[in-house]
Amino acid sequence: MAASSAPSRGSGASPVAWVAGALVTLLYPLPFEWSGQAYYETVGFLVLLNAMLGIGWNIIGGWAGQFDFGPSIFFAIGAYTAALLNIHWGWNAWLALLGAMVVSAIICAAITYPVTRLRGHYFAIATVAMWMIAQPIGATWSLINGSQGLFIPVAAGGGFVHGLLTMEFPGRDKGLGFYYLSLVLFVITLLAARAIERSKWGFYFRAVRDDQDGAEAIGIDSRLYKVIARCLMASVFAAGGTVYGFWALAVFPDQVLEVNWNILPMMAAVVGGLGRLWGPVLGAVVLIPISQIMTTTLGTGPLAGRGIDLIIYGAIIMVIAGWRPNGLLSLPWSEWAARLRGRAPAAGKA
């Protein structure tokens, strides 16, 4: 796909663009808070959540080059672990999040190492098989209450700051609170990914992707690094699952194992630009609103709930695969920007 996947160097965007972007991201929910439209705050929350998951997926899919179609099992493991830690042992949400990440990584290592012998398509199918095995387990396991789900209790009367520290927002500021929670997690994930990209692991993942046999010949244990990459992804998904669980205040197997959690992060990464650090962010910003617009336009009409958004996603995937496999980041943005700037003076003169 990409001709050269050198670590991102800010992709040539000017400092002004960076500051503007950061300001928009920080201030985005405030107008909606004042106007009482929590819906848009939730959209922002979902964009950040999926961007974060997309960055996580990029580690196994983009850098290590292994197609994982079942990452939602770790989303579910994270949500359930955190919920159980919070409900049964009273752990604070952030501690529970760390616990969820650790448990998820351990389980990931255990179930992934055996299948690292598989390559390409075979590995992809194995991840689907794992997801399909997880579904009846989720629906029938008594520890997690099966399909009845787990409910997360929220103590009344906490303030906004208290909410940020415990992920519990009993009042009106829930939308705002979860937006900033997810923003914090997103930034942490982004910075961690950037560090990994430039580290030995980053090099080794890409070596395994480009030429597994060649990588082994220069001393890289390809099976180990496939596992490490997937475990990193599993930790990110577990963190995402935790936040989602506390937001939804309940964890149901069919919700946390839903196909959307498999497809959206992966789509965000590929549509944005596979293997590029900011790819999943661009992808999430473009794709999530589509789903939300569909929900609002179709409302409760005859086509509502009929997966129209997924039809559109499917079409987008096919178009990207067939015509722009390197994603949106690979479009000649700087060329277009230059052409716009070049034309402007001429238009001004006329």
Partner: protein
Amino acid sequence: MAPLLQVERSTKRFGGLVANRDVSLAIEPGEIVGLIGPNGAGKTTLFNCISGALHPDEGRIVLDGTDITNARPERVCRLGIARTWQVVRSFGRMTVLENVICGALRRTGRVAAARARALELLHFTGLAGKEDVAAAALTLADKKRLEITRALATSPRLLLLDEAMSGLTPFETTAAVELVRRIHSELRLSICVVEHVMEVVMPLSHRVVVLDHGEKLTEGPPAEVARDERVITAYLGDRYRGRV
């Protein structure tokens, strides 16, 4: 002095085809050994068994006292064997520098140190100035050079070169031979070279091993081997026996 690499009666079969039969070979520290033989003689199979890409069905392979017969490729590399491939390989989507860094990380573990070592080696092998070129965009000669640089970055004691000169122009071939000589004299490695180009392998090697139809035919100093009738027959066929 004990040999660095000892191959003892290695046999490898693919279904009904016996690619290597009872092949024994030793490489002493500091030697350059040429491995020659007609196409299909089993040279690359032997390399694959030594480097761990394949495992022999019978026999043993010992590196400096350690049995590596069934070791995985990454362990063989860690123990000190590096190789290049008959069809040149590289991490196409990474730059030249990044490719070599991957090799150097075997020894240092820290990217900054690996980068420094990689730059040194690129300078040594003549790729300085091309650090940021995507590996897939290089010419064939440069790709081979990159493959060798990357292998050297793992600090091997034994370097296996599989037809490193194939596909090169005469000018490029001379440069490549020069590079191999310098690697041997300055980095003090043992080298085993599989080659078809006689003008290259004979002057370069201290000793030559000849394979034919999966078996070792003979071995010895290049001049002797070149005059050996069985070797001539293997390459040129029965009609030329006794005539050359």
